[in-house]
Amino acid sequence: MRVKLSIYRFNPDSNEKPGYDTFEIDAEAGETVLTALIKVYETFDSSLSFRFACGKVKCGECAMMVNKSPCLACNKRIEPEMIIEPLPNLPIIKDLVIDRNKAINTIFELAPSLLKFTNALDEAMALDPQNMDTYVKLTSCFECLICQSVCPVLKKKSDQFIGPLGLLWLEQMSLTNTGNWIEMSDVAQMCTSCGKCWKACPSEIDFLEVAITDLLNKQLPGKNPKK
């Protein structure tokens, strides 16, 4: 199968503006976008920058946009024509590589309470056994940042909102009764429940069900538990 890839290119060392390079490769039908990118890198242009680690849908490092939809490149089948771009609304290092650490640090800067444990480190945290399944789902996240990249609230208010990933972390604290999550649960109010994050989540985490609804309920009169 002949595959045409239009790949977003931007090198801050030499480009003022981003552009697109087009490559045509032969690929087998079952190949993934990641194996196609590796082929481009190996045979045409070794200056192409893209990030991956496991290559097998485990680590979440290869998240990107293919034909305007976010995906893990290692889990996306190739199509005859593809426009490949970095995840939007996140700082770019070069080409398809985004600054993941900056994006993650921003969450902690906006919500420093996420860093604080209120209980002693040596004590196992209390998790209601009934919440175990929810907790497992909450912590099955790849941290690929796709949810952050598609969130319309985060796009508009990146200096205030911790984004869907931040809300997942907040709910983890809420379920284990750690940290000062109560003080912060009002940030959940900024979420408009538009559903873009959970529709795009490669781990199929239903953000509304496992996190957002609970966080919003904490704000209802009489529901805010006292510690």
Binding site: N11, P12, D13, S14, E28, G30, E31, T32, L34, T35, Y41, E42, D45, S46, S47, S49, F50, R51, A53, C54, G55, K56, V57, K58, C59, G60, E61, C74, I93, K94, D95, V97, R100, N101, F108, L115, K116, F117, L121, D122, E123, A124, M125, L127, P129, M132, D133, Y135, V136, T139, S140, C141, F142, E143, W169, T176, T178
Partner: protein
């Protein structure tokens, strides 16, 4: 070339579970800890790839003593018994202790009554499974690292350990992101760089696991042992390319009725292990599968056939629940019916783990003062073959211990600066490669050449002729290809080729060490199988092969009585 020096009490090199555990343990004691990783995630490596199985003593009638004996027997008694004993004795506590770091264990799996599956070589069911597989640990430990203010530097390619008057003082490398050269100077250095799957064409590991730590330790003059002991898993996805090598599981995953057939329809395991057949340990089944395929008895796709149809329905339920990733890959590659074990499917063996590595004592100290090693880069815990579920246990037990050992060392030592000329020389060498763009060999070509040599001659089945071919091929790469490595890209920012160039220089060294050790061991034991010496030889070979850099870079081989 300019470089920046960053100082701390303890430097940890590596991006997986062992590195994270070490960093957390050291931080608990208040040391200033720097963690550098070639990957981007805080905790990735092989830990994030793992199926999450962690073996410990959970059953009431099981005991650390029985666990210890199982690991020793599994390891062909090449294990360092002191390390193995530590693993067995501390296993349960280490798993439960993870909750202190904010990792909530999957209680659905922690009930000993629900543990029904006995892994190959284990006398009791011991596996704690986790519905999040490796991902759960990794992200919980990531948060713990951030909370405890470990200085984390992602995407740093460490190239060389630095020493001053025989003492480890840090490491030098470069940032993949910015291209800058960096020196990390510390009182204690913990090597936690993981395994070497990327040396093999087919592996369950991430491609970043190029075995850098073995070669860096070698260059620094450390002792390495059991370098011939490479573990393979018997049943991995054979295709498509994007899924090739990914682990499916042992026959015990499917239940007692699972069977293996070759392309001729023969149930061949009787030949290799008449008693245990399909349920022999991973070394034997891998070798059987490898041999059937290599000798032309594979399927037309070059694979063997797994028949899981006589499975235990409870095992299927557990598989769906605790191995969601493999289950989904199953559906993708073989379809719904095979994923639910109603049809046969094809599989190939895949490189998985490395038992050998940097020689450590029971405090995780290497033969170089100030240098510690932990996890897969360290050797000795598992001997000639690792039992299932014991790699993460090793990470949790020894990760904690090495952090404490490094802390004690750092508390009594002063910070010794690196030798500037040594750093400069290493940088000049890299610069030489990075600035060459024509008429040479690309790192990628070298990588592929190594992968093929290792798969063909240093896989699950070896002989003198093949190993000598491998040695010649690897020496040729070292002498004629490496000096003319050339890159296609001139760019500084996020230039993957620079990382590959640094990797291949180290990969060749590690590969050569494997070949030397494999040639030296003229018997078969655990994962090391020689067709020209097919039996174990306890009178001669209950010994560990220890390698050390001799004069002018020669490989000095010595032998140590195992267990001594």
């Amino acid at each position: 070339m300019k470089f920046e020096i960053l100082t701390s009490d303890i430097l940890i090199i590596g991006g997986g579970g062992a590195a994270a555990m070490a960093a957390l343990a050291a931080r608990r004691g208040g040391a200033k800890v720097t963690l550098i990783s070639k990957e981007n995630t805080f905790v990735g490596g092989a830990t994030i790839m793992s199926a999450g199985g962690t073996c410990a003593v959970f059953k009431p009638d099981d005991s650390p003593e029985i666990f210890y004996n199982d690991i020793m027997r599994g390891g062909g008694y090449l294990n360092n018994p002191r390390l193995t004993r530590i693993l067995a004795e501390k296993s349960t506590k280490a798993v439960l202790k993870l909750e202190d770091y904010g990792f909530i264990l999957d209680k659905k799996s922690l009930d000993p009554a629900l543990m029904t599956k006995k892994g190959e070589g284990h006398s009791w069911p011991r596996g704690y499974l986790d519905r999040r597989e490796g991902l759960g640990f990794c992200h919980a430990l990531s948060k713990a690292l951030i909370r405890s203010e470990v200085a984390f530097h992602p995407e740093i390619v460490a190239c060389k350990l630095l020493s001053n008057h025989g003492q480890a003082v840090g490491a030098m490398g470069f940032s993949l992101v910015t291209g800058e050269y960096l020196v990390f100077n510390a009182k204690a250095v913990v090597l936690a760089t993981g395994g070497l799957g990327a040396l093999y064409k087919i592996t369950t590991n991430s491609r970043s696991l190029t075995g850098d730590g073995y070669a860096m330790a070698w260059d620094a003059g450390a002792e390495l042992l059991d370098m011939e002991m490479v573990q393979f898993l018997p049943i991995a996805f054979p295709y498509p390319k994007s899924r090739e090598g990914l682990n499916i599981g042992m026959c015990s995953h499917f239940g007692p009725g699972a069977k293996l057939y070759n392309g001729l329809g023969e149930r061949y395991m009787e030949k290799y292990d008449p008693e245990r057949k399909e349920f022999a340990t991973r070394d034997i089944v891998s070798r059987a599968n490898f041999t059937e395929i290599k000798e032309g008895r594979g399927t037309k796709n070059g694979a063997i056939v797994v028949d899981p149809r006589e499975h235990d329905p409870n095992f299927l339920k557990r598989f769906q629940s605790f191995h969601p990733h493999i289950y989904s890959m199953f559906k993708e590659v073989f379809g719904e019916r095979a994923a639910n074990w109603l049809e046969t499917f094809e599989a190939i063996p895949s490189q998985h783990f490395f038992m050998g590595g940097v020689r450590i004592n029971e405090h995780c100290e290497t033969s170089i003062p100030g240098l510690f090693a932990v996890g897969e880069v360290a050797g000795g815990v598992h001997g000639a073959n690792r039992l299932s579920g014991c790699a993460l246990t090793e990470v949790f037990v020894f990760g904690d211990m090495v952090g404490e050992s490094a802390l004690l060392w750092a508390e009594k030592e002063k910070l010794v600066p690196p030798v500037v000329s040594e750093v400069q020389e290493a940088i000049d060498q890299l610069e030489g490669v990075f600035s060459r763009h024509q008429g040479g060999v690309r790192p990628l070509e070298v990588k592929q050449a190594i992968e093929n040599i290792m798969w063909d001659h240093l896989g699950p089945s070896r002989d003198e002729e093949g190993i000598k071919k491998a040695l010649a091929g690897l020496k040729n790469i070292q002498e004629s290809d490496l000096p003319r490595l050339a890159l296609g890209s001139h760019q500084t920012i996020y230039n993957r080729e620079r990382m590959e160039a640094a990797e291949v220089s180290l990969m060749v060294k590690t590969a050569l060490l494997i070949a030397h050790a494999a040639l030296s061991r003229t018997e078969s034991r655990g994962s090391h199988y020689r067709t020209d010496f097919p039996l174990p030889d306890d009178t001669q070979w209950l010994r560990n092969i220890v390698l050390r850099k001799g004069t002018s870079g020669k490989v000095d081989i010595s032998y140590r009585q195992a267990g001594a």
